[in-house]
Symmetry: C2
Subunit: 112 residues, 2 copies
Amino acid sequence: MPNNSTAINAVFHTLADPTRRAVIERLSEGPAAVGELAKSFNMALPSFMQHLSVMEECMLVRSHKTGRVRIYHLVPKQLKLAEHWMIEQRSIWEKRLNQLDNYLLKLKEKEK
Amino acid sequence: MPNNSTAINAVFHTLADPTRRAVIERLSEGPAAVGELAKSFNMALPSFMQHLSVMEECMLVRSHKTGRVRIYHLVPKQLKLAEHWMIEQRSIWEKRLNQLDNYLLKLKEKEK
């Protein structure tokens, strides 16, 4: 599915940055105002806003305005997509290793 | 842990490319010779080798020579590191959503 693949590219690209991962860690615990988020990072506000914009673009976070304050919250859907890809790969190689284990076990039993 | 964080940066960066993900998908099923891997991708060999080198640098794959053939295989350890980070985030927000659910349920029961 080319669309899923493009989405997964963007999610992994977003997660490759430690600031953006730290934002996700914070938002996992609940929504936060942009000011509250920004003050945790020793970074100029425009650079920090750039990170948030990358995250919003690939739909890992969403924001809305409440009065004069912009609130960010996590959108788990895209994270799940990337996690699903990883779990799928793991299940394939774990299955293969189990088959190898079984084969070696049978070989050992034959030797007895 | 700065070391883990640097490793996770590199793993997510590696996974952000569809060719490199396709190589992992192939290697999940078992080791493969470089020639066999390369022929699945419509790409000049030097570019393809560059992808393999990125993957070997962040220890997602390893290679060894058997005669004149270089064989690549998957190293699951680094993938697990990145997967662990994702699962940790999910467990935090799922716990928070459950707490919210319980709170709303109690509120509803009080209203009855």
